[in-house]
Amino acid sequence: MQALIFLLPFLFIYVLFTIWPMIKGVEMSFYKWTLIRKIEYVGLQNYANMLQDSAFWSSVWHSFLFVVLTTPTMIVLAIILALVANRKSRLQKFYRSVFFLPSVLSVAVASYLGLFIFQPYTGLLNSLLHLIGLLPGNEEIFWLSETSLAWIAITLLTLWWTVGFNFILYLSAMQDIPEDIYEAARLDGASDSQIFWQITLPMLGGITRTITMLQIIASFKVFVQIYIMTGGGPLDSTRPVIQYIWQIGFRQNDLGYAAALSYMLFAILLVLSAFQYWLNNRKGE
């Protein structure tokens, strides 16, 4: 009884806003269902449409591509930044603050900074390239209107904006490595790079697995940066799956189909989690 009183506030919210929508979604996915009301029962039609919907599957692919682009780069960059901030120097605290600072920006602010950084003619990056002579004065790079360049721009912005969290995780993991291990290695005449590859990096294995796991899921759920920087363009070539589901539901007024697509998203994320769980346990042995 006492337990119930303590559990009740959480359970009420949890059931109403997490469990119930999960069930409600099944019903919705069997109907033609608009923003206004339920229209008619369509059986498995929404799911059948999904299999044929090439725009949906390419949006799924774009989210995967974003995972592939951001996860390894994020980890390498986070480790480099943590190495910099872990070095004994008067600027240690300064580095820590500076590398984390972009992470506190609102997602909209970060995305618009990205948009303006990568504009042609007046954007920060092109102006900088002009100034230092890497880009001839009469040439412009159209970062956001060419698919492959757009992916680079989105990836760079995402790294800048979100690497801070992983950087902090690595930094605290590095600081947990006992100093005497390093001293012993130095006494044996190990060089800095030997120490990094044979002591620091292996000791970071655990946190790297955690970060990889969280990063893959987080990257797959990307939406806002892309929505603001490219709108999913050019020609939907950077549109991620979340944006597609949103467009189906709220732009094309088809919540039933959007609910069916959401289950596919759920299934993919579940498979990703299961895969990582398996990978983790295997490596842990």
């Binding site: 337990a3 409600k24 603050s97 920006l105 618009y112 902090i168 919540l255």
Partner: protein
């Protein structure tokens, strides 16, 4: 070698702050100046007129307030209801406890993004679209917070609890005077991560709110931006005003924030 490392370090730091410096510098330029080279941004004439204009003629400051209000409510309520539930899961015996544990654990596998469409319908059914309640309540249940807090509560010795009970202290007293104070670092960590999560939440406010008096920052900012891509001054003023409070908070609470994040990694 030493100076190389130092140089690369400085360059990296520069890359990380430069966009923010640029934002600040452009925001104090006078509007309508043709900019042909990067250096033009950094030279006069300066002007703060646009700041006045944005503050008086848009709802930006109101949206900052909304974002804070929502984030603080979400933070306090999430910590409170998660701590209560974790306490029950950790220290109170009851039937179906194992079932309850797996029922909560299952929530870790349900990403908010996958239930967004039906959540919209549910929020419509219980009539909380376009309200602060609608912004706050649907995001409060955090199985992640419960799993973390439970592991910390498990570490509180039972003797301590019994000694309070022998003195006649009830279950609430145990909760408020033993459990919460002893797990403060974990609670703070959850609070900070929840605050940041709410501050950056885009999708749910974006779908559930259409009244611009209820916009949070991430939803409101794009509505101001659309018209102004030609001249960067106004967008950068908007970005700067939106960032000042959160950067100030970061500088004040940096130590706690760093600790909070490190802790999430250990348990993650």
């Amino acid at each position: 070698m030493k100076w190389m490392i130092r140089l690369v370090s400085m360059l990296l730091a520069l890359v990380f702050v430069f966009p923010l410096i640029w934002m600040l510098v452009v925001s104090v330029k006078r509007e309508g100046m043709g900019v042909t080279s990067l250096l033009d941004w950094f030279t006069p004439p300066y002007s703060l007129d646009v700041y006045g204009e944005v503050i008086t003629q848009t709802k930006l400051t109101h949206w900052i307030w909304n974002s804070f209000f929502v984030a603080v409510c979400v933070m306090i309520l999430t910590v409170l209801i998660s701590a209560m539930a974790s306490y029950a899961m950790s220290k109170i015996k009851f039937r179906f406890k194992t079932f309850m544990f797996f029922f909560i654990l299952a929530g870790l596998l349900i990403p908010g993004e996958a239930t967004l469409i039906p959540l919209y319908q549910v929020a419509k059914d219980v009539d909380i679209l376009n309200s602060y309640e609608g912004l706050i309540f649907p995001v409060l249940a955090s199985p992640f917070a419960i799993i973390i807090l439970k592991s910390f509560f498990d570490g509180v010795p039972n003797d301590l609890i019994e000694s309070v009970q022998i003195d006649g202290g009830g279950i609430w007293r145990v909760f408020f005077s033993i459990m919460l104070p002893l797990t403060r670092p974990a609670l703070a960590s959850i609070a900070i991560l929840t605050f940041i999560g709410s501050w950056n939440n885009f999708l749910w406010p974006f779908l559930s709110v259409t009244d611009d008096n209820l916009f949070t920052l991430p939803v409101g900012i794009p509505t101001l931006m659309d018209q102004y891509t030609e001249d960067y001054v106004k967008p950068m003023v908007i970005n700067t005003i939106a960032s000042i409070p959160i950067i100030a908070l970061f500088l004040i609470f940096e130590r706690q924030i760093v600790k909070g994040i490190s802790m999430s990694g250990i348990k993650g």
